[in-house]
Amino acid sequence: MRLRGVSLAYSGRTDNHRQALAEVELSVGAGQIVAVCGRNGAGKTTLLDVLTGFRSPDSGTVRVLGVDPWRSSPDHRARVGVGFADTGLPPAASVRRLMTHLAAMHRAPERVDDLVDALNLGGLLRRRIRRLSTGERQRVTVACALIGRPDVLVLDEPTSALDTAGRRSVLDLLADARSRGAAVVWTSHTLTDVARASDRVVVLEAGRVLADETPGDLAGAADVVRFDAAPARDMAGLSAALPSRLAIREAAPGRYEVVGERVDASVLATVSTWQAANAGSGRLSVGPRDLEDVLVGLVADHASGGVAASAAPLSATSGT
């Protein structure tokens, strides 16, 4: 999969002009799993729509298996498996009827029973989709995407609403797809899953790619100091007292973070002093930075033009 300079804007009476994708560059090779992360409305689902030929970009080029997906042939589409979170499932149909219908579009589809076993859907085959739980519908969506033995797999939030066992079974299926050479692009707000399953993480914000790195590179060697204090305090004094390599932000009202490399005793002492002066409880913790910290920081940097000051936490619902 390859995107070069892809831009797409929405406009309309109810949806004012909004740049959903802006000069997006992305390349995903065979046998790679790439996660697309970002806030709701960042452009993740639009990116998947472009990859699956559901939308045509305003500018730029898109190639999937060497073909523009907007003008793809049935044989091309047979090689691309698509699953969108909790959509594409007609409520009145049974699971078996839907899967059999989608299998009929392929010359040599996966056996429905094999997929059902892999996703632990055996007891649900005769059940109407409206009777399934959210997690069960999610697994059916993934099963439908895999039915054509795709060379390219595009999944929108396949692990949302799943319990631990369900998430693991989906992540195992992604790994299986990678091991047989499929290119996988997926979105998720569950960053532990992203870190575990993905070869690369693409961070989108306002339609722009903020980062495209391996999970390890993205997390880097930085640490996070988390502490509490009264909400909405002026952080200028703390910022001035700390080395410039460290970034400060209020992650949520009354919850502050200092992020950066080489967090030493003098840093902790400075933070502790500021915390005491700003009605904090005195408790603070230090730990390695995880992907969520990185994403929140990147988005905050983008929003403030490069200075991390504050950011809303990433939420866990459906995207654009």
Partner: protein, 253 residues
Amino acid sequence: MSAEERVRSRLASPPWRRVLAAAWWDARTMAGNPEQLLVTLIIPVVLLVAVVRSGLPDLSPLPQAEGGLAAALSVAVVSSAFTGQSIALAFDRRAGLLRVLVASPLGRGGIVMGRLVAVLGLIVVQVGLIVAVAVGLGIEVGPSQVASMGIVGATGGLTFAAFGLWLGGTLRAEAVLAVANLVWLAMITVGGLVLPPDRLPGGAVVAVLPPSLLGEAMRQATVNGVVEVTSIAGLAAWAVAAGVCAARWLRWD
């Protein structure tokens, strides 16, 4: 998996199989919906029996029996091609099914073809059942009439399916449900589907609208056993217009 299987697994099934699968899916979805069964089959049959047995509405100078058969068939065609089609499409859109099917080997063209084939298949079933009921009521239906009914039904079905795609692909599902049923009622009462346009207010205008063209062609088919070319040409022109509008405004999500 062998190399040969691997190659085969990359391919879409043949076009005819994809379209038939889609048509079967759509037909089953429409036939499995009790409300749709009511408007596509039960109401036309009740209309036929009522018109023939009660003599109301008075369809003279047409023979009451053949006029009733034409009315029942016209209502049946419009019900499955327009009302059923638009509502099914709108709710499939809302469920996100079209989004998945667009990205599948079926694609946009296959979705439309499947729906048209489903409509034609349903119309064949409707014509068969309604003609059987008509024969049971003592109405004589000859081969030329059946053939004419088939041609008119197919042309009308395609025309109203184009309108159904336009409506079902444009508005929200709930709005489609309301509009489709209202239009269906209007076509029956004042649209020329049951009564000839010269007996309706604004008959000159009504006469060139699709329901009236279908009603008139169907009346000629049941009474005289002929395919009236003027009405068929009018329906075809409306089909092209509705198809262009559907292609321009149909949204897949």
